[in-house]
Point group: C2
Chain length 377, copies 2
């Protein structure tokens, strides 16, 4: 990534409240540098001009990137290898486009040694109420411990209660844990979890769509929840009241076609009422970490269990998947370039390319293949 591109991504990250499909479309068409210049000058379609009007003249890019560098963080975009392109195809699901704020992230701000693409292939979200009971915290910790023993990363929201218990147990088990934040990477929230979030940033991954300094807000928690669900093979609700943020994360996971799990508890406990409601609506009942590992394991072996569709890529052969993954996250590539990226002879990728095109996953223009807008989200 050039310095220009990096500044452009940072600028674009702040100029709208994410997600913003019209901005994604512009970036996909013109690239980040040109898109940023057009937005800055207001030379964009009406709708997007409106969405960017408030912040287009605000440029904190230099300060934002300086802060990021000082903390040892990085941007992750579709231009990076670390971008989990295949996992993010979930944003192309019909149910996601029907939901407000269901768009894909454009830029992720990241801090920590964990690689997002690796993590997102073998991870589970453990989420739940801040007002957890001793039972809920015990079960969250037990599940997280078992998951990291099986090399499944534990994703959560960094909150008090269930989230905190899951993160802590994952750290104690020397596993990978990811906290997805609803504000800037420098805004540790809740304040009482500063030390915990710092530890996660040191050994796991802090992740957010929001540029530095942005404060968490109610709508940002809801938007953040979709990202928790997206980077997790399955979302497991441990304890939740009837109307809860965890239920919101579960709804995102369901819209993405991901398996939603819930842990039962005493029917006399209000903290389990949301879990029981999810279970009555079809969530998978889990009692042990192994049951979650089984579900998450299927993520990496997409074609093997047709009962759990998790992406439009289900049913692809190994070669087709390899070819798909070899396409760049943004822009197009020639057959030769794809062959190099896939480490396959060019003639062996022609049939897979055709299959992928028929499946609507990729498209060809002027001799260059690209991921179809719908598949990429």
């Amino acid at each position: 990534m050039t310095a220009d591109q990096r500044r452009a991504w940072a600028y674009l990250s702040r100029v709208v409240e994410p997600p913003c499909p019209p901005l994604d479309a512009l970036v996909a068409e013109r690239g980040p540098v040109e898109a940023a210049a057009l937005v800055r000058r207001g030379e964009v379609p009406d709708k997007l001009r409106e969405l960017t009007a408030a912040r287009r003249e605000l440029d904190c890019t230099a300060a934002d990137l300086e802060l990021l560098d000082r903390r040892g963080g990085r941007l992750i975009t579709a231009d990076d290898d670390e971008w989990p392109q295949l996992v993010f195809t979930v944003f192309g699901a019909d149910a996601m486009r029907d939901r407000p704020r269901g768009g894909a992230p454009l830029v992720l701000w990241a801090l920590g040694p964990g690689r997002l693409d690796d993590i997102a292939w073998r991870s589970a979200a453990i989420v739940g109420t801040r007002a957890a009971t001793a039972y809920g915290e015990h079960v969250a910790a037990d599940l997280a411990t078992g998951l990291v023993e099986h090399e499944v990363a534990v994703v959560s929201g960094g909150a008090y209660g269930i989230d905190g218990a899951a993160h802590r147990a994952a750290l104690a088990g020397a596993g990978t844990t990811v906290a997805v934040l609803a504000g800037g990477i420098d805004v540790f929230y809740p304040a009482g979890h500063s030390a915990l979030l710092h530890r996660i940033a040191t050994s796991g991954l802090l992740l957010t769509e929001y540029p530095p300094g942005v404060r968490p807000a109610r709508h940002r928690f809801l938007t953040r929840n979709r990202l928790v669900a997206a980077v997790s093979g399955s979302t497991v609700v441990v304890e939740a009241g009837l109307r809860s943020g965890a239920a919101n994360t579960a709804a995102w996971a369901a819209a993405m076609g991901r398996v939603v799990c819930a842990v039962p508890g005493p029917v006399t406990s209000g903290a389990s009422a949301g879990c029981h409601q999810l279970l009555r609506r079809g969530a998978e009942l889990v009692t042990r970490p192994q049951e979650i590992v089984e579900i998450v394991g299927r993520m990496g072996e997409l074609a093997e269990d047709p009962q759990h569709p998790v992406s439009p890529l289900d049913g692809l052969t190994e070669v087709e998947r390899t070819v798909f993954e070899a396409l760049p996250g943004r822009g197009g590539a020639t057959v030769e370039q794809i062959a190099v990226a896939a480490a396959l002879p060019a003639q062996q990728i022609l049939a897979p390319l055709t299959t992928l095109e028929i499946a609507g996953l990729i498209e060809q223009r002027d001799g260059r293949w690209r991921i179809a807008r719908r598949a990429a989200g």
Copy 2:
């Protein structure tokens, strides 16, 4: 019922270990009096002669009936109005015939003011482990209290733990409760529940397939469980270990196409492990009595919810059901007799009779209509 018939039924009840489909077939063909005489003389097909060889010369009929009369009890057979013919069509389900001991009961020994046919139309079984926790007993009592408030009868097995908590709460709520026994009506088991069973016999119903004096035994508990499931619109497991009698009752209910419910509990509690296993296999999760009332309510309104088939009679119109119910439990009837029983003009029942015949529920021979063997079980 004539005195002869009554003696015949009592004799037939003891001469085999129920259920015994070959004996059912003989009784359906020849009537109880003749069937009893044939069995006594050994003039029956080989298979049945073998099954009745040990007890055919044993005749405790006079003593059995004297005991029954002294206690104020009664026999219930297909000859009685109280026989829940429609509910017992579950014994005709394919899955029931494939299961050992899946046959219909031939004779029921009953004690108490509750009418079995009324009860079986609006009832739920509440079953579970004898080694119940305080949580389990609390929930069992809570569910039973709510059920009887909604005039749903509470069926159970009279055992310690969950069963006892359910019976007691139903009695405390002045509702109807049924204990289905694995031994004779005069054998109160467990002994510590003598007073409880006596109270049930006074205000509800004690029910068993076994003649007086028969001791409960392991295979009789398993056989009894099928009767618990049969007379209950739904079977609700409150607490159960991984291999438990309650899971056996649930398996019977499932084979009958009845809705199996389970109450979740802490995943850390072994007493809830069987419930969680049932839930993972598709049982309905219930947390409140209202949820069970809704399911049981569907029993009386069979055609309304196609998602929960409970008998081969699903989908019949009101008139067809009335006509079906007007057929005698055993033997045939003319159109005129059925019209009288259904309180409908004879010409109005011809079309329903044809529909029922096409559905395989009834059959015609020599101008007389009868319930098809398969539908009656």
